[in-house]
Amino acid sequence: MNKVSKSPWLLHYDASSCNGCDIEVLDCLTPKYDIERFGIINTGDPFQADILLITGGVNSQTESVVKQLYSQMPEPKVVVAVGICACTGGIFKECYNIKGGIDTVIPVDVYVPGCAARPESIIDGVVKALKVLDEKQAAMKKDGR
């Protein structure tokens, strides 16, 4: 019963997105897509979150923030990179201030491509992330933590 995947809470962070993906993330909450049916809550608080959902590539300003938010989340936790910028840096990859995808800073578990990523694919990505979450929890239990 106490599987994390039954109640994954989500923290959404915009690293340097153009807001296209962010709008799509919010779309997931609307009645049409309704991610709450999976028990997902979009909490704004890293202390209570299990999934870190990041849009946009990492730039020099947001790098430390992403790291800090990640460190404030309790284990088990997964990271979902939403949108092509978050996956690889996208069209901004060569910009002087962009470090690249999220995985240049913290380990990413699921990549959701698209520009902007469609709500369906975001939900799909999050549901995939839930499997990873369960695996991590099982691994944690094995370690006896």
Binding site: N2, D34, G39, G44, F47
Partner: protein, 287 residues
């Protein structure tokens, strides 16, 4: 004997009842917004998950204060269900809340501190009415003992409809329902992150949630007292009306937006004065 059963039933069942009500509340809310909503057991899943998470904390006292909040709330609830003094129950309830405020302000977190300040303000807003409710019961039954309320010939609500209305109005604060969910809310996206619970994670948050369930049942218990009398069928009626009241709180939650603190304070105090005060005045004159 009956008291002991009630107390144990409260201690054991209250979190389940509370969580179930929370689940129902979330489904009803979802349906009101034309969504499917989570499973009815979602609060249980949430609790299970929270307990299984890694323990991280911002300081060493928060867990202790949250646990104290839970235990003192349980004591308050036990006293209510054991038929003890209602006024005392209310006083202890506010003492319990004090521990929650301490837990939130035990670190210098800006969001949690702001939440704690708002929680204090909310207490200031609802406190007068709860005292008046106790006074109302005293005037109708001649005692503050809960056990005396339930053996009356007629339901108390006949004499105190104004107080019932006022209590329904201010209980939105305690249920953390919109428009009065200033200090923290069940919904995502707040102006203050998660308010009073911002720095709570995992087990600490789970304890806080369980305490809220205990509190929810306690408050419904007080609503129950408005309707119950010495007849057996009044218990059923009271159950049904409590369910209706809970539904109305959910409805109100969904149709109203969060208000500013000034509106909260003034509206609660005015309602207390008009609905509660007038009711008490009339009771004092006729009793």
């Amino acid at each position: 004997m009956r008291q002991v059963i009630f107390v144990f039933a409260y201690l054991i069942l209250a979190p389940f009842v509370g969580a179930l009500l929370d689940g129902i509340d979330r489904i009803i809310s979802a349906r009101m917004q034309r969504r499917k909503g989570p499973s009815i057991l979602q609060p249980f899943y949430d609790l299970g998950k929270l307990f299984s998470k890694e323990m991280i904390a911002v300081n060493n006292v928060q867990l202790l204060l949250n646990l104290s909040y839970l235990v003192i709330l349980m004591i308050a609830g036990c006293m209510l269900f054991a038929g003890a003094d209602l006024l005392m129950v209310l006083f202890i309830l506010s003492t319990a809340d004090m521990f929650l405020i301490m837990a939130a302000s035990s670190d210098s977190s800006p969001f949690a501190n702001m939440g704690a300040s708002r929680e204090m303000l909310q207490m200031m807003a609802y406190e007068p009415l709860t005292l008046l409710v106790a006074v109302g019961f005293y005037l109708t039954t001649g005692s503050f003992q809960v056990s005396d309320f339930i053996t009356r010939e007629y339901s108390a609500v006949i004499w105190m409809p104004g107080l019932l209305f006022g209590f329904m109005f201010t209980t939105a604060i305690k249920f953390r329902k919109s428009p009065f969910d200033l200090s923290t809310s069940h919904h995502a996206h707040q102006e203050m992150v998660k308010g009073i619970t911002t720095e709570m994670s995992g087990t600490t948050l789970a304890i806080m949630n369980i305490a809220e369930y205990y509190e929810m049942v306690l408050l419904l218990g007080i609503f129950f007292l408005f309707f119950v009398n010495s007849t057996w069928w009044s218990w059923i009626v009271a159950f049904v009306i409590c369910a209706v009241i809970f539904f109305m709180e959910t409805l109100w939650d969904n149709v109203s937006a969060r208000v500013k603190w000034k509106t909260l304070l003034y509206s609660c105090w005015v309602v207390t004065l008009v609905a509660g005060g007038v009711n008490i005045l009339i009771l004092m004159l006729i009793m």
